[in-house]
């Protein structure tokens, strides 16, 4: 192949990913006057964001006027066990309301309050009803709104086009090589800046709510180019995934079920969450069924039911119940909303859950409880970015959305991802604009690098025999499920790392059917490289953090350590391979730590900030 006549397209900025973060970033770039390209592995409107159910968190105070950005910020920091980047959590809490209102301006039709404002629902870890939502299909509403809006903004959208690797010029971004799924042909994007908005890497686990797209491509591409990853040990297991039938194991059951009154019960019929309330949340959580019921009926003085504790707490509690032999027949626990709400209410507020169970499990959730168990759901960690500009440590490379790290710390609150996408998608667009406007000379493309990227991709097709990529992927998933699960030990992580080394060797020997045209085997083989980076980074970071904090639980190091709050784990690509190291955290700005450690009554009733 002659690499000089590879299809070449030039943009000021290339956005990789067309989920909520990618489209929001692309819109901002285009509105700032940049020539903007956007690529995605799937068709437009199919990205992960479309699956989000429960809602988008923003302290608008439409339902409870006591809410404001400071309380949202405080909830986010406490949920993240104070490992979040302070400035990111601040920007997020301050700007989320305007981003949500802007979506409404662009056509989103959220559920309404009685006064005709955007309605907000309760969710785990959020002090007040804060999640703007549309039944249980909020992600669809947001993604479709962005999609319908962006097609009139002059963005060059290239669908079913997958990014393979970055091309740098003297350490700064010069472009990216990708391929068309339909033809298997390669394409070079020349760009002064690239924004990664590629989402997470949940497909490294067997039981996950994530789709095939979540192979950690952004993480892999950024890492190989020299960008740092942060907080990779914090992988969120959502407490409620479907457990039956086997083929749908892991598919998400929205937290909205609990937000709207659903309760968790074990096989003895006991509402067990009352036994698992951590000290830090004890003063804000109901400790009797009576009080929990009062809360559900709208009593503003009642404290929240323990089912709405943060996800890490609920997921571990479910795991403990199952291991104590009090699980449901298929290895989960019972999530019961049928006994708490009317059939009419359930169908109206949770229509897609109703259909999901009816059609996939042949169960009517308005009559019987669901069986649920933890499922790998979200990456708190990701590409390390500057809190203000979203730029990585590689000049010209930016990241936002789930593939970026720092905003959520050790654990993400539900609803804080959709808001994260909007807030940091926009900020990334502004960051890029600023970068490009200050660029003195155009980056040059290095042909050798292009050749290297393409050869490594075509090698897979040119082998006569080798390893089946689907089977190897399953092996990786089993390994991560077994050794890097909800609770971890140093020994298991070490063992996991050894297994990963072997799989990594095998990844070098995968092969696929020779034709590159719409060839899932080949596509899968290419994804494996990124999944490996992701899996290794999580495992190494988890090994280094010798304490239990948020979503990261070490049986051999129970509880939070004092030192644990002082560093973030950073992953780097070095000449001797992947290295995990502790990076000292800077002291927080005083005005922010005052808010994070304030009592609620000190913050309530303050009017929301900008």
């Amino acid at each position: 192949m002659d690499f000089s006549d590879i299809q070449t397209v030039e943009h000021d900025v290339l956005v990789v990913g067309a989920g909520g973060a990618g489209i929001r970033a692309a819109v901002e770039c285009a509105q700032n006057g940049l020539n903007t390209g956007m690529i995605s592995k799937s068709l437009l409107g199919k990205a992960h964001t479309v699956m989000a159910e429960g809602g988008v968190a923003a302290a608008m105070g439409n339902v409870d006027s006591r809410d404001n950005w400071k309380i949202h910020f405080r909830d986010t920091m406490r949920g993240g066990k104070f490992l979040n980047q302070w400035r990111m959590a601040e920007l997020h809490a301050k700007q989320a309301p305007e981003r949500v209102r802007e979506l409404e301006e662009w056509g989103a039709v959220f559920d309404r309050t009685e006064n005709g404002l955007i309605n907000q629902r309760n969710f785990g870890g959020h002090r007040y009803p804060r999640l703007a939502h549309v039944g249980d299909r909020t992600g669809l509403e947001i993604l479709r709104t962005l999609q319908d809006f962006c097609i009139h903004k002059g963005i060059h959208t290239h669908m079913e086009c997958t990014g393979l690797d970055l091309v740098l010029d003297n350490g700064r971004v010069a472009g990216l090589v990708g391929y068309w799924r339909e033809t298997g042909r390669f394409i070079l994007f020349k760009a002064k800046a690239v924004i990664f908005a590629t989402g997470g890497g949940g497909k490294a686990w067997r039981i996950t709510s994530n789709s095939w797209e979540y192979s950690g491509d952004g993480l892999g591409m950024a890492y190989r180019a020299g960008a740092e990853l942060i907080d990779m040990e914090f992988t969120q297991f959502h407490p409620t995934g479907m457990v039956w039938p086997p083929s749908v194991r892991g598919i998400l059951v929205t937290e909205g079920v609990r937000g709207d009154g659903g309760i968790l019960k074990n096989s003895d019929g006991k509402r067990f969450m009352f036994d698992y309330i951590p000290k830090i949340f004890a003063s804000e959580t109901a400790d009797t069924v009576e009080e929990a019921n009062l809360w559900l009926s709208g009593d503003r003085d009642a404290r929240r039911p323990p089912e709405l504790l943060t996800r890490d707490v609920v997921a571990r509690a479910i795991k403990a119940e199952v291991e104590a032999g009090r699980g449901s027949p298929n290895g989960g626990v019972f999530l019961d909303i049928a006994s708490q709400q009317s059939a009419e209410f359930i169908k109206r507020k949770l229509p897609s859950m109703y259909h999901q169970f009816k059609e996939l499990a042949v169960i009517d959730i308005t009559e019987v409880p669901m069986e649920v168990g933890p499922t790998l759901h979200y990456f708190m960690g990701g590409i390390r970015v500057d809190s203000n500009s979203q730029e990585t440590n590689i000049p010209g490379l930016f990241a936002c959305g789930e593939c970026a790290g720092g905003m959520h710390g050790a654990n993400r609150l539900g609803g804080n991802s959709l808001s994260d996408l909007l807030v940091f998608g926009k900020l990334a667009g502004d960051g890029v604009t600023n970068y490009i406007n200050n660029l003195s000379n155009k980056p040059q493309i290095n042909n050798l690098k292009i050749k290297e990227i393409i050869t490594s991709a075509t090698d897979i097709l040119n082998r006569d025999e080798g390893i089946n990529p689907f089977v190897l992927h399953e092996k990786l998933q089993e390994t991560m499920q077994k050794y890097v699960g909800i609770v971890r030990t140093g020994d298991e992580l070490q063992l996991g790392l050894e297994k990963l080394e072997k799989i990594k060797e095998d990844v070098g020997r995968v092969y696929a059917h020779a034709s590159p045209q719409y060839n899932p085997g080949w596509n899968e083989a290419l994804d494996l490289k990124n999944l490996m980076v992701t899996a290794e980074a999580v495992t190494k970071a988890a090994f280094l953090r010798e304490e239990s904090r948020g979503a990261h639980t070490r049986l051999d190091f129970e509880g939070e350590s004092e030192e644990g709050m002082k560093y973030n784990v950073v992953i780097r690509n070095t000449s001797s391979g992947m290295v995990a190291e502790k990076r000292h955290r800077e002291e927080p700005p005083k005005e922010l730590s005052d808010i994070a450690f304030a009592t609620l009554s000190e913050l309530e009733g303050e009017s929301s900030g900008s």
Partner: protein, 246 residues
């Protein structure tokens, strides 16, 4: 237990049905079977999918001749000894195997005038009431699976894609026209450019919609009514006569 599947394999130029047999388990859906075939027999078998829960509208195919989502179609909906036929959507060109080219649909969306929302209230909010947004929320449930576009005879049998925008985009238009705060008028375009008159209310689109959207009754007919209030539409004229509307 093993089950038999007949899967269409090929590209734009040529193709054929190939039979595969794979082991199936309780609760499996057609998409699971396709994945098994990929893993065990044909790693290059092309299929689209994402969410595997009926939320993204990627996995549209025809199963035993009926347009369906592969991820929401359970194998035990079919007799155990029945060979299940899986082929790509017919109304649009084939790319490869089970993957069809939907790009025409993406082009149509661009032709539609977007929301033109009136100014916010003084306090920076928009006010709309739940009862007023419910009917457009129904249309906004659309996951763009394009099964309705596939089954609509105007597009499928008569290939009048230059004359009719299809049911999916009729409800997109309806969601804009019925938006309480929208200030644009798309009725002339709905008649002239988008071909509302081409629809003769067979309701086939409604029957296949996995989101159970009442495409025809709640979306297309009210739009046609609005057109008739301005212009003349023979189908609507007849419809009103039969159902004694107005």
């Amino acid at each position: 237990m093993d089950r038999k599947f007949k899967v269409w394999r090929g590209n734009k130029k040529s193709g054929e049905f190939i039979s595969y047999s794979v082991a199936v388990e309780q609760g499996m859906v057609v998409l699971d079977a396709v994945h098994r075939i990929q893993t065990e027999h044909a790693s290059d078998l092309a299929v689209r999918w994402n969410c595997k829960a009926g939320k993204c509208g990627s996995c549209s195919v025809e199963i035993n001749g009926k347009p369906k989502l592969a991820c929401m179609t359970r194998l035990n909906d079919y007799r155990e000894d029945e060979e299940i036929t899986i082929q790509p959507i017919k109304a649009f060109p084939i790319i490869k195997d089970l993957v069809a080219d939907f790009s025409w649909n993406y082009e149509q969306n661009k032709r539609i005038q977007p929301l033109k929302i009136r100014a916010r209230d003084k306090d920076g909010n928009h006010r709309m009431f739940q009862r007023d947004v419910e009917r457009i929320q129904e249309f906004r449930k659309c996951i763009e699976c394009f099964l309705c576009q596939d089954v609509c005879h105007v597009l499928r049998d008569h290939n009048k894609k230059d004359k009719f925008i299809g049911p999916r985009f009729m409800i997109r238009l309806a969601s804009l026209e019925m938006h309480p705060l929208d200030e644009a008028d798309r009725i002339p375009a709905i008649k002239e450019e988008f071909g509302a008159g081409m629809c003769n209310i067979t309701r086939c689109c409604t029957d296949v919609c996995p989101e159970h959207i009442q495409i025809t009754d709640n979306g297309i007919i009210p739009l046609k009514e609005r057109v008739v209030d301005k212009y003349y539409d023979p189908v609507m004229w007849l419809y009103r006569k039969i159902f004694k509307r107005n």
